[in-house]
């Protein structure tokens, strides 16, 4: 019991209320104090997050097009999403996108961090310039990129022409459209992720590198044996958050290719949008978003497992 709960003794002490009632009253008082602080955000979480999560489960079992009343459909939506909305194709496309995006982006981010992790003049300026793309509106930047990657007269193909090469119709070609969109995201988020690696690198004590080089370890060995293991927590954070974001790519696809050419860039989020809000198949769109939720959850758990099983060395 805290100091605040002690009552001043009065001349005639009234019989003390039973203990459960006292703690009950204290709890009520605490709730009355905390209530106004917590209730607005709690209402937001319940109404705009928890209820929708329950609702999406229900919606995935009904047929509904927003107009006629919904009716129970059992597992029909899960069949429809595979058969008519080619959800597994979309999932494969999305995985392909994530593989083009995440490894390159993470390697570049780490390389940039190691490049800037030194005490030299101007590092702050370069750090700011590298983070700049993070501040761009994805929709607007995607417009700029589709101009740069035009078949004719686009910057990229003009530069290639100078080198004597004929570039493809980047966003209009099934082979190159998705990699170009992935490159766009890499450009936007590499500098942002660099900041996490920079923060991580600064926690590694320099004595470790000093004693390693006295022992004759090469630069690569130091990177493999000191830098990478000690960056494990940062790596986990970066990969988990980036993979979740990457699986939900939408804006850039909507602006540059609308899922095309053919269905080469029909990532799952675009498919959910098209199914739910262009074909008005609410049930299938819900089922698809549940599937995506499941996939993201499994991948996140796997990442946590992978990084937990690798030894991290405590530095004292």
């Amino acid at each position: 019991m805290g100091l605040a709960d002690l009552r001043l003794p009065s001349s005639v002490a009234p019989p003390a209320p039973p203990k459960w009632r006292r703690t009950g009253r204290r709890r009520l008082r605490q709730l009355a104090t905390a209530g106004p602080f917590i209730l607005p955000s709690l209402a937001g979480v319940v109404v705009f997050l928890l209820i929708p999560v329950v609702l999406v489960l229900l919606l995935s079992f009904v047929k509904w097009n927003f107009l006629q009343p919904p009716h129970w459909a059992g597992f029909a939506n899960f069949v429809t999403m595979a058969r008519y909305h080619h959800v597994f194709h979309s999932l494969a496309i999305t995985a392909y996108y994530v593989l083009w995006n995440i490894p390159v982006q993470t390697v570049i981010a780490l390389a940039l961090a190691m490049l800037l992790n030194r005490r030299l003049p101007g590092m702050g300026l370069f750090r700011a310039l590298y983070v700049l793309p993070y501040m761009s509106t994805p929709v607007a930047m995607a417009v700029v990129w589709s101009w740069l990657f035009q078949a004719q007269n686009g910057l990229v193909n003009r530069l290639l022409l100078i080198a004597g090469l004929h570039g493809p119709n980047w966003l209009g070609d099934q082979a190159t459209a998705l990699p170009v969109i992935a490159m766009m995201a890499t450009w936007q988020y590499a500098g942002y992720n660099m900041l996490f690696f920079l923060a991580g690198l600064q926690t590694i004590p320099s004595q470790l590198y000093e004693s390693a080089s006295i022992d004759g370890a090469s630069g690569w060995q130091q990177f493999r044996r000191i830098t990478l293991p000690l960056l494990n927590p940062t790596m986990l954070f970066v990969l988990v958050t980036d993979v979740i974001g990457s699986f939900q790519v939408f804006d850039q696809v909507y602006v540059t290719t609308q899922g095309g050419p053919g269905s080469a860039t029909e990532v799952i989020n675009y498919n959910i949008y098209a199914t739910g809000f262009q074909n008005f198949d609410v049930g299938s769109a819900s089922a698809m978003s549940l599937l995506l939720f499941g996939v993201i959850l499994v991948i996140t758990v796997l990442q946590f497992r992978f990084f937990r099983n690798r030894t991290t060395y405590e530095v004292s």
Partner: protein, 277 residues
């Protein structure tokens, strides 16, 4: 190593950094160049050649296009409302989680943390059906209501920061008989300023860039936001790249300006959000 060798190594290092910087800044710069060229200039000159003069007609054409100024107003209004609500209610909740004792607090906080695992797209369809049910489609409410009452992510960030503040200050204020509200305004707001600025920036950038949700809950130009307007520019001004790029810059420049002013805070705030404390 001789001084000359060392100097050339430094020169190589900085040259390398500069080349990388060109890759990151280039797309902005080229878009700026093109937005100030005439249409003939965009097609007749190389993308990397600067415009001859500041030709402003592209911007006036785009802004005079029916509705475009309205898109900008809508985005500004929605973003400000969303940011104000999210930060206010977020600070209140984070303060309660960090500094108040009440039954069920830790359980409730774990619930907030658990919601961080839910990808946005999962709530897209059900939220839309809810908005429809309440006849909010095509209203300003639909645009910011789902985000107004606070975001678990920023509540989490602020709670962590508030907990790291020295508890003696709060205890002393309570002994002096300060109300919780007074503690919040007089102690927490000044001491928690860095993280509150962070939360404000996160909310603002989110609101400004938000696209998929506004795309589905609005269909009349009077309620649509800038991102939705820009996504339609390419089909509206087909291959008039000078106009399309000028329109895109209308969205890009305000965030660039914010970055120029708050660069230090933004960099620090991103790093704060990555630290597991």
């Amino acid at each position: 190593m001789t001084t000359a060798a060392r100097a050339s190594r430094y020169a190589g290092f900085y040259l390398c950094l500069a080349v990388i910087a060109v890759v990151f800044v280039g797309p902005y710069l080229l878009a700026f160049f093109a937005a100030f060229k005439t249409e003939a200039g965009v097609y007749g000159t190389a993308p990397w050649s600067p415009p001859h003069s500041l030709y402003l007609a592209n911007f006036t054409t785009v802004l005079n296009r029916d509705g475009f100024l309205r898109f900008l107003e809508n985005t500004a209004g929605v973003t400000i409302a969303l940011t104000a609500g999210q930060v206010t209610f977020g600070v209140l909740a984070a303060y309660a989680f960090a500094r108040l004792e009440f039954p069920g607090r830790d359980w409730l906080f774990s619930l907030y943390l658990a919601t961080l695992m839910v990808p946005n797209v999962v709530t897209l369809v059900p939220l839309y059906t809810m908005m429809r049910q309440f006849h909010l489609i095509n209203t300003y409410w639909a645009l910011f209501l789902p985000y107004l009452l606070g975001a678990p992510y920023t509540i989490f960030l602020m709670r962590q920061y508030f907990r790291s503040l020295p508890s003696e200050v709060f205890a002393a204020a309570r002994v002096d008989g300060c109300s919780e509200l007074r503690i919040l305004t007089r102690i927490l707001l000044p001491m928690g300023r860095p993280i509150i600025v962070t939360a404000t920036l996160i909310a603002f950038v989110f609101g400004w860039n938000n696209f998929l949700w506004p795309l589905i809950v609005t269909d009349s130009p009077s309620k649509q936001v800038l991102t939705v307007g820009i996504a339609g520019l390419q089909s509206y001004f087909v291959s008039h790249w000078n106009l399309v790029l000028a329109g895109s810059l209308v969205a890009l420049v305000p965030l660039l300006a914010i970055f120029a002013v708050f660069q230090k805070q933004i960099v620090r705030s991103i790093q704060l959000s990555g630290v597991n404390r």
